[in-house]
């Protein structure tokens, strides 16, 4: 059984190379595979790739053109180049509030894959904010890592999203941010995010889709999802004809 479980699982990169410029209709999806599977760990796991795949599929169905990388091609320069102009961003990796020697303080962020088991380069909020200088606030950001749903996380600000929740029926920004408080376990993320994406594809608002995620089979002792932005926002790509109307669905 152990041998069977240790069989390598094929994983595909979400897209090819990165374009020089990104557009408002583009989304980026990155996932750290190397640090979460053998030989860096004692077990093989396809969880990172599956998380990225469901994000990529869903974003594409919502009208976004996606770029990004799963595995060693997820480097710090690649991520910063992509993040500079995209309007939707998904990343799965280690996350924390890292010491930023430039800022002489803590800066929230995630680690790249870069083909490294440990101490992979970090991509922190200050760098993201610099890369996005002048860009419009991001529409949809999902940070599938530990700690970046905490109130102290500076990642929402880096994407131009205020840490504030607009109620249903309230005017709010065209933005939605999802992160996790404390340690976030991968199996639980898969269940929560699976339901979240499925509800978005059903035409639910981002806030309602988040609620649907809460109704999925994840263990809330091992995953504490958090959101900011506007409950009613529907993260379809801009300038798209709304893809949903009563009686019409995409799955």
């Amino acid at each position: 059984m152990l041998v069977a479980l240790l069989l390598a699982v094929g994983v595909t990169t979400t897209t090819g190379g990165l374009p020089a410029r990104t557009t408002a209709r583009e989304a980026a999806v990155f996932a750290n595979r190397t640090a979460f599977t053998a030989p860096c760990t004692d077990f093989f796991s396809s969880a990172a790739a599956r998380l990225a795949a469901q994000a990529t599929r869903s974003l594409a169905a919502l009208g976004w053109s996606t770029l990004g990388a799963v595995g060693p091609a997820f480097t710090e320069p690649a991520a910063l180049a992509a993040v500079s102009g995209v309007s939707a961003f998904y990343v799965q990796s280690h996350g924390d509030h890292y010491w930023d020697p430039v800022a002489h303080g803590r800066s929230s962020g995630v680690r790249a894959d870069a083909g490294r088991c440990e101490n992979a380069p970090k991509i922190v909020a200050n760098e993201i904010a610099a890369a996005r200088a002048g860009a419009a606030p991001a529409r949809l950001v999902v940070i599938a890592s530990c700690h970046n749903g905490e109130a102290r996380s500076t990642l929402p600000d880096a994407f131009g999203i205020a840490r504030h929740r607009s109620e249903p029926g309230e005017e709010g920004p065209s933005s939605f941010y999802v992160g996790y408080v404390g340690a976030a376990w991968q199996r639980q993320m898969l269940r929560f995010e699976g339901a979240f994406w499925a509800a978005l594809l059903d035409g639910e608002s981002a806030g309602s889709a988040f609620d649907r995620g809460l109704l999925s089979g994840f263990n809330p002792a091992r995953l504490d999802p958090q959101w900011w932005g506007a409950y009613d926002y529907r993260p379809v790509a801009p300038q798209q004809i709304p893809p949903y109307r009563p009686g019409q669905r995409r799955g």
């Binding site: 479980l5 969880a47 249903p168 806030g207 809460l214």
Partner: protein
């Protein structure tokens, strides 16, 4: 999860019965095949959602509501009919029912996140009120209560011989002031045969086996028994597979990443794992 559009109430229910009888594995994805549906059929299917809407403690505005044609979704190996109502103000009500009419999911979209926060006792009382209104049998014992995204998640775990069954809880999500956001009630997961008590390894042996697997990592705490969804290659742990009795051993990987290993309760073979990046 797979989904496809049904041609109408009769066809939808017939398809559900067929899928249920065949017990199609979740890896089989139903085609996304739009078919025509008449207004009459749509209304008939939406009837159950409207009936449930009338039972809610906090009314769902049915006036001018649009009923989305029913779909079939396959979740954890079970084919369910999904019905959805959309109100002009953006509120939604989604209902999933099993072929026998059992409610599996009721989800309201557009429930306010604010309001005064209820204490735990009041929250549980409010939760039980919602369950009673929906005709769901009141669960025994106190729920596990967690806060997530401003919501309150109340879980009543299914236990077999005192051992929790992973992913098999009655789950109630409420706003902080006790308004119903949703309820999910999966079909009871099948259980793989439990090992005979005499063949069950003890917690100490499970901890030692996990330590061998973790190498430079380390086991932390005492292993606990649980009915878990067994993993397949790559850690895919579909919830429709029969749960297996396992020792869940908490620990850390060599780099300090928190992890949990699932070891078959009898043989101590590794059947699943999870970790927190």
């Amino acid at each position: 999860m797979a989904r496809h559009r049904a041609a109408g109430a009769a066809l939808a229910l017939a398809a559900v019965a067929s899928l249920g009888a065949c017990a199609a594995p979740a890896s089989v994805r139903a085609p996304d095949a739009p078919r025509p549906i008449t207004a009459r059929e749509s209304g008939a299917v939406a009837g159950a959602a409207r009936r449930l809407a009338l039972l809610l403690v906090e009314p769902f505005p049915l006036a001018a509501t649009t009923a989305v044609p029913a779909t079939i979704v396959i979740e954890a190996g079970e084919a369910l009919v999904e019905q959805r109502l959309e109100a002009p103000d953006g509120a939604t009500l989604t209902v999933r029912t099993a072929p026998d009419g059992a409610l599996r999911l009721l989800a309201r979209g557009g429930v306010p996140t604010g309001g005064p926060a209820l204490g735990e006792t009041a929250l549980v009382a409010r939760g039980l009120l919602h369950l009673r209104a929906l005709g769901i049998g009141l669960p025994a014992g106190p729920p596990l209560i967690e806060v997530a995204g401003g919501r309150r998640v109340l879980l009543w775990e299914r236990r077999v011989d005192g051992v929790p069954v992973e992913g098999d809880a009655l789950r109630l999500v409420l706003s902080r002031s006790g308004a119903l956001v949703g309820v999910s009630r999966p079909a009871p997961a099948p259980l793989a045969g439990a090992p005979a008590p005499m063949a069950r390894a003890d917690a100490t042996a499970a901890g030692a086996a996990a330590q061998r697997l973790l190498g430079t990592g380390r086991v932390e705490g005492t292993p606990v028994l649980a009915w878990v969804a067994p993993g397949r290659g790559g850690g895919d742990e579909p919830l429709e597979l029969p749960r297996r009795l396992a020792w869940v051993v908490a620990g850390t990987l060599g780099d300090g990443t928190p992890c949990a290993l699932h070891l078959d309760a009898a043989t101590l073979e590794l059947i699943g794992w999870d970790w927190a990046p």
